[in-house]
């Protein structure tokens, strides 16, 4: 039995009867990483929120979300709350707005650790400090005292990753964690995810619209288009023998983009000479 098993996950908007997500299937084991790829609006984020039971109240979620065989869609709110953070944690897309602006980062990390674990405040502070250090943040003591608006997007993203690391969930969902970042920060954050996997061995769902990013991290890949799953399989298979026309299109676009980039670099180099 796999750790998390998603079967026939369908999300429907009750107000308009529009189907946002149709029949998603996937499963994930510990110490593996699933990449979910698709363009904006293809239903990646909704899928993840539905798994955590955090879909907007006007959405109807059907199917099965099995965490070690227990269906989360039928679970009580309190059970779900205990699963969130402790067993399944998520890293949000927009780090700049993810923290409460009126409390320090340290305060929010400590409260999370206290309410999820059996830590008291002093222990939680030490753990927050240690995990920030593991994320190669130079002065964790100072960062903990800062408010969200005083830190950069990359730094906040790292704080979120550090908090996920401290919570030690079985499954980590990362929802486009690199979208809001510039290229340099992006690479660093991805390296941090790799490190996170090596250290904790947690299962990971990594959502991105960037095939290149997913290629670095994932073992399996799920391609979504307009709320439907068009391709699902081990990463080598998908990259070498894409079954669906949309996957092929994504791969070709990527090739074309990198090609023109390489050519541009060549031109620049020859101009310099």
């Amino acid at each position: 039995m796999s750790l998390l098993n998603i079967r026939n996950l369908t999300v429907c908007d009750r107000r308009t009867d529009e189907i946002l997500i149709k029949d998603i299937h996937f499963e994930i084991d510990s110490n593996t990483c699933l990449g979910i790829v698709g363009e904006s609006g293809s239903g990646k984020s909704v899928t993840c929120k539905a798994i955590l039971g955090l879909a907007n109240p006007w959405l109807e979620v059907t199917g099965q979300v099995l965490l070690e065989g227990n269906n989360l869609l039928n679970a009580e709110q309190e059970t779900l709350r205990q699963i969130r953070g402790k067993r399944i944690c998520m890293i949000l897309q927009d780090a700049m707005t993810a923290f409460d602006p009126l409390y320090t980062i340290g305060c929010q990390m400590v409260e999370t650790l206290c309410e999820n674990g059996q830590y008291n405040k002093t222990d939680a502070k030490i753990i927050a400090m240690e995990t920030l250090q593991k994320m190669y943040i130079r002065e964790p003591r100072l960062v903990l005292k800062k408010y969200a608006h005083q830190l950069s997007g990359g730094m906040l993203q790292r704080c979120m990753i550090a908090l996920a690391m401290a919570l030690k969930p079985d499954i980590l969902i990362a929802d486009e964690p690199t979208t809001a970042l510039d290229a340099i920060n992006q690479r660093e954050v991805i390296e941090e995810f790799q490190r996170l996997r090596q250290i904790t061995g947690m299962a990971m769902i990594f959502i991105s619209h960037d095939l290149g990013v997913v290629q670095h991290l994932a073992d399996k890949i799920l391609v979504m288009k307009d709320g439907e799953q068009v391709e699902y399989g081990p990463i080598e298979q998908v990259f070498e023998k894409p079954q669906h026309i949309y996957t092929r299109y994504l791969l070709d676009t990527r090739k074309a983009l990198t090609k023109s980039f390489h050519e541009a670099m060549k031109v620049r180099r020859s101009n310099k000479c």
Partner: protein, 309 residues
């Protein structure tokens, strides 16, 4: 931060001078002659000679700007002149009436804050429930009902029908309750709605989603949302405190509460310029100072404003 406060405090003075001039100008442009009214109130026949003597006595024969100048200089030293009618210093009259109004306004503020915070949060947490709908119905009625009518209804129900409280006057703690409740009614409905709606709006924010993702307890999340929603209410509260005191004009007259609201209405009927003028300046000071205090409190609550200055 210190510089910001100092700047704001210094800005108060030109504002007050502007307001006092404007008020002085408006009162003096009113068509009726205060000298005549002063004579009538004291039951003297208003012959042209008597009016002329009275005008000289009250200093009304001097040019407008000179009168304003003298008044401004005197009031800066705490002397707001004498009432045209009672001949008592205005400051004494105000001092006599102010504690009553302050007691009324403070109790109303206390009721307003307590009730609206409780129901505001409760309605936001239980949005769409039967209780929420009932409270919203009350809000609708409370906002739509003018306070003089609400006051009369309350008086009829609790003082006449059930005979629980006195209808009017100031006689112990018992008698303050009805006017205070009447006064707070409109404010309560405004604030329940404000707190409820800002909290519901805040619930859609990304930080709430992340708080849920982190597995925080419902109570903790509500605390986060509440603190973030507080700013809108605090700014409004800064404007409401002087409005509370100004709002006592109607309520004090209905319940015969001997505060400055009643003093002011009487002064208006009697064309008692010095009292009206002092009342306007006092209200202006209250508005400006309360606004400033609330801005400072908001800055203390929100690190983003605190550092922005």
């Amino acid at each position: 931060m210190k510089r910001y406060i100092l700047q704001r405090v210094l800005a108060i003075f030109p504002i007050l001078i502007g307001i006092s001039f404007f008020a002085f100008f408006l009162i003096n442009s009113s068509p009726s002659d205060p000298a005549e009214v002063a004579l009538r109130v004291n039951e003297t026949v208003a012959t042209p000679e008597a009016i002329a003597t009275m005008r000289r006595e009250l200093g009304l024969d001097k040019p407008f700007l000179l009168r304003y100048g003298t008044w401004l200089l005197d009031s800066l030293q705490g002397d707001f002149g004498n009432s045209y009618i009672t001949k008592q210093p205005v400051l004494n009259e105000m001092n006599k009436a102010f504690p009553a109004t302050l007691a009324l306004a403070s109790l109303s503020l206390f009721i307003t804050m307590g009730v609206s915070m409780f129901f505001g949060i409760w309605c936001a947490v239980h949005e769409g429930s039967v209780g929420d709908k009932i409270v919203r119905g009350f809000i609708f009625v409370g906002t739509a009902m003018p306070s003089f009518w609400a006051g009369l209804l309350i008086m009829w129900l609790f003082a006449v029908k059930f005979d629980l409280f006195p209808t009017s006057g100031m006689d112990g703690f018992h008698s303050i309750i009805l006017p205070a409740v009447t006064l707070s009614l409109t404010f309560i409905s405004t604030y329940i709605r404000l707190i409820r709606n800002t909290m519901i709006q805040n619930r859609q924010e990304n930080y709430v989603l992340y708080a849920k993702v982190r597995g925080l307890k419902e109570k903790t999340i509500t605390r986060h949302i509440f603190k973030n929603s507080l700013q809108a209410s605090l700014t409004a509260l800064g404007m409401s405190i002087p409005k509370l005191i100004a709002g006592t004009v109607i309520v004090e007259n209905i319940f015969a509460w001997p505060g400055i609201g009643r003093l002011c209405v009487t002064a208006i009927f009697n064309r008692d310029f010095p009292i009206i003028e002092a009342y306007i300046v006092m209200m202006a000071v209250l508005f400006v100072v309360c606004n400033l205090i609330m801005d400072i409190v908001c800055a203390l609550l929100d690190p983003r404003i605190r550092q922005g200055e």
